[in-house]
Symmetry: C2
Subunit: 543 residues, 2 copies
Amino acid sequence: MGSVTFETHPSRYRHWKLDVQGAVATLALDVAEDGGLEPGYALKLNSYDLAVDIELADAIQRLRFSHPEVRALVITSQRDRVFSAGANIFMLGQSSHAFKVNFCKFTNETRLHLEEMSRESGIATLAALNGTASGGGYELALACDEILLVDDGSAAVSLPEVALLGVLPGTGGLTRVVDKRRVRRDHADFFSTTAEGVRGERAAAWNLVDEVVPRSRFQARVRERAEALAARSDRPADGAGIELPPLSRQETNLGIDYRNVSLAIDRARRVATLTIRAPRDAQPARPADLGADAWAVAAWRELDDAILHLRLNEPEIGLVLLRTEGDPEAVLAVDRGLAEHRGHWLVREILLLQRRVLKRIDLTARSFYALVVPGSAFAGSLFELALAADRSYMLADAEGASTVALSPLNAGLLPTSSGLSRLAARFLGREERLRAILEHAGPFHAEQALAAGLVTFAPDELDWDEEVRLAVEERAAMNPDALTGMEASLRFVGPETLETKIFGRLSAWQNWIFTRPNATGDRGALTVYGKAGQRPEFDWRRT
Amino acid sequence: MGSVTFETHPSRYRHWKLDVQGAVATLALDVAEDGGLEPGYALKLNSYDLAVDIELADAIQRLRFSHPEVRALVITSQRDRVFSAGANIFMLGQSSHAFKVNFCKFTNETRLHLEEMSRESGIATLAALNGTASGGGYELALACDEILLVDDGSAAVSLPEVALLGVLPGTGGLTRVVDKRRVRRDHADFFSTTAEGVRGERAAAWNLVDEVVPRSRFQARVRERAEALAARSDRPADGAGIELPPLSRQETNLGIDYRNVSLAIDRARRVATLTIRAPRDAQPARPADLGADAWAVAAWRELDDAILHLRLNEPEIGLVLLRTEGDPEAVLAVDRGLAEHRGHWLVREILLLQRRVLKRIDLTARSFYALVVPGSAFAGSLFELALAADRSYMLADAEGASTVALSPLNAGLLPTSSGLSRLAARFLGREERLRAILEHAGPFHAEQALAAGLVTFAPDELDWDEEVRLAVEERAAMNPDALTGMEASLRFVGPETLETKIFGRLSAWQNWIFTRPNATGDRGALTVYGKAGQRPEFDWRRT
């Protein structure tokens, strides 16, 4: 497995065609069979691998930032009679467990980003299923606001994973069918165990799709619905989009240096240090002056790239030390500007970008410690990193030079997957304490931060080195699987949402199934799928 | 592994001493080291296996039914300086995956029953930790309303699983620490990775316990708190408890016959048929006449026993066909009586028993199909079985003799783990439809039931045999792991609770970890624990 890179551009897409016609954009899938990330499988029938999904994620991001005129997105296929066969099975069959899990995580995030784009950004989504949508293909449709299915006597929607492959649909399908589309669970049970799926009127009657439309009227109906969805949008008529250029990025064997972010890898200790620098130059004060080089955009795009790099390309790094550098006041000034102009479409997108990056950290199966020392800039949006961390250590230096500080962005503009802000989740059930903290003016010194509950530990200069060293070494020595399960349980306190259900409940079960011989053993269903004359053999014990 | 039986009686307890003194009962743990379910491990340091937990579950059930005078329960240890070391590690190390999962499920249910008993029955609970409570020992305390910890310089609470064994605390510990006790997640992170745990003032400051009390004052303070908890109870001063005699139970190699329930095992097809019969004799009309032989108690105790038998002793049965027999009107009459007198303490207990049994079905990792035919009695409380099933098939016979019917018990008196009734979960987001169904008078014939959405399919006499046969065969042929994950995802639509989080999120992660070589491989942490000179070896890839 080579190093996966997440940057691309519509001009280089091999699998999707992005077409913008006024308020309606169309993403049409035509997967290049030989365009997969790895050799060894052909992406037949519009099946996909991570390479296809990286393009989808890129297209969504660019629509948001570069095309303020777009108010609805149609996702369809360029192929006749097939929308998508879902994740490529042979790719899954040859992938390591860690890769499968991270592939599913990324594709799940992308589908949640589609839903967030509709809910928060005013770009509604329509799945135009001009042919059969199976497995991940149907799950992509489920992430859209509306699903139209062509009614031609053969096009169906299906989740064939349980029946054919012995695994779960891996991209939120089960959860969305019952929780989002409110398909009755007995119907969902039948549907999810029927390889051929459901078509025509039954698909609509069970609410698996919103409408079935004869082929002759399909394109017209898609246009009609897309325009109706676009009409509800609050996107501006006169916005000027910004281009997202390639990241400034220097990768070596020791890590990656970006303009505002550095990632340093220590493979021997299995520890990475991720440093985010506060703005050093003057930042634009007016939304109209914001561009991709503004810190609020560039630093967070870099941080996102670094997290994805860690996930896919550095699987043995178990602990990430989060550091910040620079002038906290520069971060707070940017935050205040964003909060003030948060009604502006581009500022809204910037806040949503930061929100997504922070959620990506919450969902990353690595331990995070934040280290607050003199010279660091854990303020406002960057203090969210300390709140996202599993623990934080703050040096109680004699001069009181270590500080943390809050901005309006900590008060709800960067919520977690549960819908709570990180501060609200931290002080769940202690609302008065939360209010007092939010009303505090100025920075918190170490003793104040510890007393307020903003950091976990505040060792003095005598103890700091030893305490942090021990905490790092102990963490890096524990069973990485147990840490993943523990962190997934502790990080999501309070209310559950479709989003947390997908990552907490569905993905955990899928991970379990992926490790079981019944799926991935020599005679497991996923292993033998498509191999002539081979049938899976199961250990029948139910657990 | 022999056949596990779940029936016991305080006179036969080997591990617990149940002592009732007026309003306060005490359960004191003194595990017999040689009293485990299986040979091969000694239950040292008040560690437990399923045998110990079966006694605990029995004691809770009997307190509820036989001791209306009890208003508070103290759980403590008979040992000096040790409360409980939790689940026995050597037992876990030698157990199959299926057994470990079902052991954890049963112990989790018992702890949730403690919480339900406090919330619904007026028997509050106090964990009197007179010594260290580790792992499952502390998790048992977490299931109590209050935790007092002796402050003697050594007694601690701890969750050492991640650090020492490479697995998660398996009995809800992580979820309860952050979600129930609202321990801050960074504190929880430190606590859950620190083998020696936390003691004294820090344990109280972090809310891991409610109070730390010097040894000299410990017993007095326990009595004081127990009496304060008892004072809040609404249990009657003059109730007359009922004894719970051994079940009438005939077990053969082909299944079990009870008085009101039959379980027939077809191992070749991996299918069981579970039949529940409606009352055949006159049932008591007044609460004062209710006894353990009343159908509303006896049939449901039998059903509970049958479900537990399936889980532990028939691991290869993948599909359970739920059938009922008898006069639906007899069920409805019993239900109406229970609903009318639901304020009576004993009626309340009976409804809670039925609720727990139905939840046990929701949480059983087997597929369930309900079969509604002429002569069946899917009415009221027994109709909950059809709603709990993954699907239902109703024979649309020419005479219209197949019926289903509702009673007041379907309208919220038997809620699921999510807090919704099964009907409300089925019609989530369709409240008007739910209301119309609840207002329907009289039975539903097959066409009506299908139209109302009360059953999944209603084949006629020509199609019935073939359709049911195919559905049974197909289900029994699928990967049992995938079915478990699918059912766990589809069965719990709507809101999540501490209870669904424990079974959905935490248990799924634990199952995954239990299958991973890092825990249970030859050099896994659980496998080598306690073996001199052996240290675990980990695959460091994080997922």
